[in-house]
């Protein structure tokens, strides 16, 4: 066998299994979802699936529940990610100071990232229980009445955000901390020699150099928060009255409780489009970290 044909053969053997798996279980399902979304396809109906044109998509545009779920998702993602970024950013600077013992504390704070999201929902559901939850015990210590954390609209949303902040703030801290550690010391020394104050060093040197890391963590967090469903499943089931019905929960219940697969697929396709737009920014950041 010639060298060139051996190289071609090896490259094919190396790359094609992964591509095959991705085409079968990523590309094909997306195409199939588009196909399903263009049909009346209900497991609850005795009729076989039939072509529906843009019926499901037209339905979306007049569905208040769909717009509510977009609004709820937007609120959850915005609140959660903003709090995580601010808190995580501040804590990265705390952990970056060279004080004894802080590294052990930092490592301990990583544990929530690894926790099964369903268990996160379970334990916060337990702790936020109106009657015997430990959070309500803290609340009564401060002299207030027990609060209906999971059954009042605003409180329910804030409870979900709290559980998400608990799980993912350490992730933001971890990434920003790693970026801080990788900044070369001489840049700061040069700044000091030029007579910059600590404040000027922060805004003119540190912050601009952290920018790529901040953008990366912001996009990863936003996209992952947008797909979150476990906390809803364990804590509120979308309630009370749709106050925590995020888009993934609406898709899941439409498909597997109402069994309206066509409509669920139409929402899924919409969601993929929204996520793809956001992911473009991330991909560009990774492909070309210098720019942007």
């Amino acid at each position: 066998m010639s060298q060139k044909s051996e190289a071609r053969w090896t490259a094919t053997v190396l790359v094609s299994p992964a591509v095959l798996v991705l085409v079968l279980l990523n590309i094909f399902p997306i195409a199939f979802a588009v196909y399903i979304s263009l049909r009346h396809w209900s497991l609850a109906s005795p009729n076989p699936p039939r072509f529906a044109g843009d019926f499901n998509f037209a339905e979306l545009l007049v569905d208040d529940r769909f717009f509510n779920s977009l609004w709820v998702s937007g609120t959850f993602v915005t609140l959660g990610v903003v709090i995580q970024l601010l808190l995580g950013f501040a804590l990265a600077f705390v952990f970056n100071s060279k004080l004894r013992g802080l590294d052990t504390l930092r490592r301990l704070s990583l544990l929530p990232i690894m926790t099964m999201p369903l268990v996160v929902g379970l334990v916060w559901f337990y702790m936020l229980n109106e009657n015997f939850g430990v959070i309500n015990w803290f609340v009564t210590l401060f002299g207030s009445e027990r609060l209906p954390f999971l059954t009042e609209r605003t409180l329910a949303m804030l409870s979900i955000v709290l559980a998400d902040v608990w799980q993912w703030t350490p992730f933001v801290t971890l990434v920003i901390f790693a970026a801080l550690q990788s900044l070369p010391e001489y840049v700061f020394e040069a700044g000091r020699m030029d007579g910059l104050t600590e404040r000027e060093i922060f805004f003119r040197i540190t912050l601009p150099m952290l920018r790529p890391a901040i953008i990366v963590v912001l996009i990863i967090r936003a996209i992952d928060a947008f797909r979150m469903i476990e906390l809803i499943f364990m804590m509120t089931k979308g309630g009370p009255g749709g106050a925590t019905e995020v888009l993934p929960w609406y898709i899941y219940t439409t498909g597997f409780l109402s069994l309206d697969l066509g409509y669920a697929a139409a929402m899924a396709v919409t969601m993929i489009i929204l996520v793809t737009l956001a992911a473009q920014v991330f991909v560009r950041q990774i492909a070309d970290p210098g720019k942007n």
Binding site: V21, L102, V123, W137, G255
Partner: protein, 287 residues
């Protein structure tokens, strides 16, 4: 600890107000992070009478009754068969994802593959596909091929979900290998395939370990697709745990014991992976 400590330069560094504020901030945050774990573990060893007490009981007789009932009794069969399913599916999908992923990463790094760059970005973009968008087509596909409630279906799906992570992280490691090492092996008469398995792969061992652990975490923790694709015979621990949601009034002890079993294996992994964690979690965007 004394009020003075040695700083990096060896000079005596006196604690200032800001240092105490930092310790306080870090301690409060770590307390916030650890408290729910305390609640999971303590509730799992509480006698039933202490679980619903308000104010919460901080002192109680430790019992392992909840673990016994969680493993063998709770919900009919106990968690044991689901735990075994979780282990099988996690192990198989991790080996497959890391195996196929590192092959593809090597192929795309070292060979001129048609549209290689586009392939890379295509593979990366699959990381962002929201699982909920796939449940309807995947369900119908698995139903069509008679694969509902099989280990195979979940293994295949988790493999595909982890491929993007593996390819992207391992690629960074392969690129760091000097090409001269591989050229030397070629002169020694190694075939291309042998260079991959005997020279390149051993050099990226840290990357293989990192991606194995991250892939295992995803497969172990995944809930949504598992709950749609499986019913009972190949259902995983999260599916078992979720099946009580909504009807849970009383059984908090066994419930939390299942929670401990769902979290503990990953906690052990976490201790191992520290060093390469960031690179893996951000696709090498932050090193």
């Amino acid at each position: 600890m004394s009020a003075a400590t040695l700083s990096d330069t060896g000079a005596v560094h006196r604690f200032r107000f800001g240092d105490y504020a930092r310790y306080l901030g870090a301690a409060v945050f770590v307390g916030f992070c650890l408290f729910p774990f305390y609640m999971i573990v303590s509730t799992s060893v509480k006698p039933e009478s202490d679980i619903f007490s308000f104010p919460p009981s901080w002192v109680f007789d430790i019992t392992f009754e909840n673990y016994h009932s969680a493993l063998f009794v709770f919900g009919g069969s106990g968690v044991l068969p689901f735990l075994i399913n979780s282990i099988i599916i996690t192990a198989a999908s991790t080996v497959l994802a890391v195996g196929l992923g590192s092959m593809a990463a090597y192929g795309l790094t070292r060979f001129k593959v048609v549209a290689g760059d586009h392939l890379f970005f295509f593979i990366l973009s699959t990381r962002f596909a929201p699982p909920v968008a796939f449940i309807v087509p995947l369900y119908l596909m698995m139903q069509r091929f008679g694969l509902l409630d099989t280990h195979f279906a979940l293994v295949a799906i988790y493999t595909s979900m982890n491929l993007s992570l593996v390819v992207w992280v391992i690629r960074g490691f392969f690129e760091a290998i000097p090409i001269e090492i591989e050229e030397a092996a070629q002169i020694d008469g190694y075939s291309r395939w042998q260079i991959f398995t005997k020279v390149a792969l051993p050099l990226v061992k840290p990357g293989l370990i990192t991606t194995s652990i991250l892939s295992a975490i995803l497969a172990w923790n995944e809930f949504l697709i598992a709950t749609v694709i499986t019913q009972s015979s190949s259902a995983t621990l999260p599916v078992y745990l979720s099946s009580f949601s909504g009807s849970m009034g009383l059984e908090w002890g066994p419930y939390m014991a299942v929670g401990v079993m769902g979290v503990l294996p990953i906690m052990i992994f976490t201790l191992v992976l520290q060093r390469h964690l960031v690179r893996g979690l951000t696709f090498g965007a932050v090193r």
